[in-house]
Amino acid sequence: MGVVDYIQTIIDGALFGATYSLIGIGFTLVFGVMQRINMSYASTSLAGAYCGLMGQHLLGLPLWCAFPLSIFASGLIGYLVYLTCFRFIPVASPLASLMATVGVLLFVEEMIVRATAGTPHNFPAIFEGNSIEIGAFVLRADLVGVFLVGVLTMILLMAVLFRARLGVATRAVAQQPIAAQLCGMRLQTVNGLTFVIAGLLGGVAGAMTGAAVGILSPLITIPVTVKGLIVTVIGGLGSIPGAIVAGLMVGAFENLFQALRSVSERDIYVMLLLFAFLVLRPGGIVSPGRGRD
């Protein structure tokens, strides 16, 4: 393999890594607001993508409908997760919330296995077209499309978080729940809406993962969960830009080691990357500011 091949592998990986970034942002968003872990996030995102597929298969909707339907379904599932795992469990028992989301993870995975009889399904390629050639490098059109949608979603999310009233409320609740309540914000509503936003984002992430991989299979929920969590930690907890960079990085790293070693060993190196970060820079790429309580 020459230098060009290495760079090509890294570029392909980074483009694919945009899907990891999206999942990582979802984990970060929920953790940033509630300070609790939602282990079911990646599986509910993929469940959203499955709902998109279902619309196409059962209702006979046109191809492009799969995408908006996934997003909508995922937002709804996000709110359901909030109701079942966070709304009625006291703040003082974070372990109970963690365990409940694991329960949802198992439930959703089993539902997918039941509904599809365990067989993989083709996910419609949202972007078709010729590969783009830049000099010696070839960019796969579908991966570029996934990457662009990912970037667009992130910009939209940043706009909501930093410009819209809801985003301001979300950030206020994240920093000081009690003070935010005293200022007249409804804690439960804001938290619930955060889950809806994270869910919508998860719908994009799930559909993009489906579009990038080409198939949806119940087998990919756990690996995507693990990768998403690794991206969250490498990026720095609660940091959206960190998650974006970490997602692209993990994607590139993974693809490089897949080319150098083999598919079955690839993930070991991603885990080693995580441990390197934990030892050398436990705060992640973008360490969250100190003094939060």
Partner: protein
């Protein structure tokens, strides 16, 4: 009858798995690495009895010690972080161990056939018990004795100074630190004890099934490990045992007539239990009630 003996053995391994997570959870750390330690114990013990021809009991202790060493080594970098980051670090460790065994080939010629782990094919023929003429009942007795010893040790730890220290760290790290408790030492100790228990459990499991492969030790196993103590409650070791019997005995075996639907039920049930009893099935109030009941019985007798 053999069915009930195997069921008792399965409950035994899962109790060991749950208790290994229980020790770590006492210090307030959520570890998804227990499945990895279980796998290390299973592979090490299998290799010792199959390749080196050891007796099963020293092999079990050696497997536990190696798993404990691994736990100690993982503990140092992983326990610098807390909460979500620890969850991710331990989850990643568990998966890394699984992938390691997925790529691990070490076949040795023995008596005309090859033995030892063979990557994705798995590790076959760990037949120490049948080769030495143990009946299912005797194997079950061994498993139950080991489980009993571990429960006894944990029961004693809970009542000793170490137990109070572990719980103090779990309740409030800052307060524990300000009375002079070395947080890292306590957390790594808990992790090491947990690793040992999981390793011993894995060793017994490998010899019970006679065949292990990397898919036995996925994230799901780690999820089960922490599910038991959280479902059962961290008030005492008995919560974990109640949860294991509830899940393995009633949910997995008792509801067999429901077929595959019971896995669906399992996830939903966890959500329900956590909503109704966020502190676990046997929480502080329930434990006190049981203790009061026992005391009253004692007085009447």
């Amino acid at each position: 009858m053999d069915f009930y003996y195997s069921l008792a053995q399965i409950i035994g391994f899962h109790t060991l798995l749950g208790l290994s997570a229980y020790v770590v959870l006492l210090t307030g750390q959520v570890s998804f690495a227990q499945g990895g330690f279980f796998a290390i114990g299973a592979y090490v013990a299998g290799m010792l009895t199959v390749i080196s021809g050891w007796h099963v009991i020293p092999a079990m202790l050696a497997a536990g010690s190696i798993a404990a060493l691994a736990a100690c080594l993982v503990g140092f970098p992983a326990l610098r972080v807390r909460g979500l980051m620890l969850v991710v670090a331990t989850l990643a460790f568990g998966e890394a161990v699984r992938l390691f065994f997925f790529n691990f080939d070490y076949q040795v010629e023995k008596g005309g056939s090859k033995g030892g782990p063979l990557g994705g094919e798995g590790f076959r023929q760990i037949r120490w018990f049948p080769e030495h003429g143990w009946t299912t009942f005797e194997v079950m007795l061994l498993v139950l004795i080991v489980v009993g010893l571990v429960i006894g040790a944990l029961w004693w730890i809970d009542r000793s100074r170490l137990g109070s220290v572990l719980r103090a760290v779990g309740e409030d790290e800052l307060a524990a630190q300000s009375v002079g408790i070395d947080l890292t030492a306590v957390k790594v100790t808990a992790m090491t004890i947990g690793g040992f228990i999981a390793g011993v459990g894995g060793a017994l499991y490998a010899h019970y099934t006679t065949y292990i492969e990397h898919t036995n030790f996925t994230v799901l196993l780690a999820v089960f490990a922490i599910a038991y103590p959280i479902l059962g409650g961290l008030q005492s070791v008995f919560g974990t045992i109640v949860a294991v019997i509830f899940v393995q005995g009633i949910l997995v075996e008792g509801l067999r007539f429901l077929g595959d639907w019971r896995s669906l039920l399992f996830g939903a049930l966890i959500v329900l239990v956590m909503n109704l009893r966020p502190k676990g099935l046997i929480d502080g109030a329930a434990a006190r009630r049981v203790a009061r009941l026992l005391r009253r019985e004692g007085r009447h007798a």
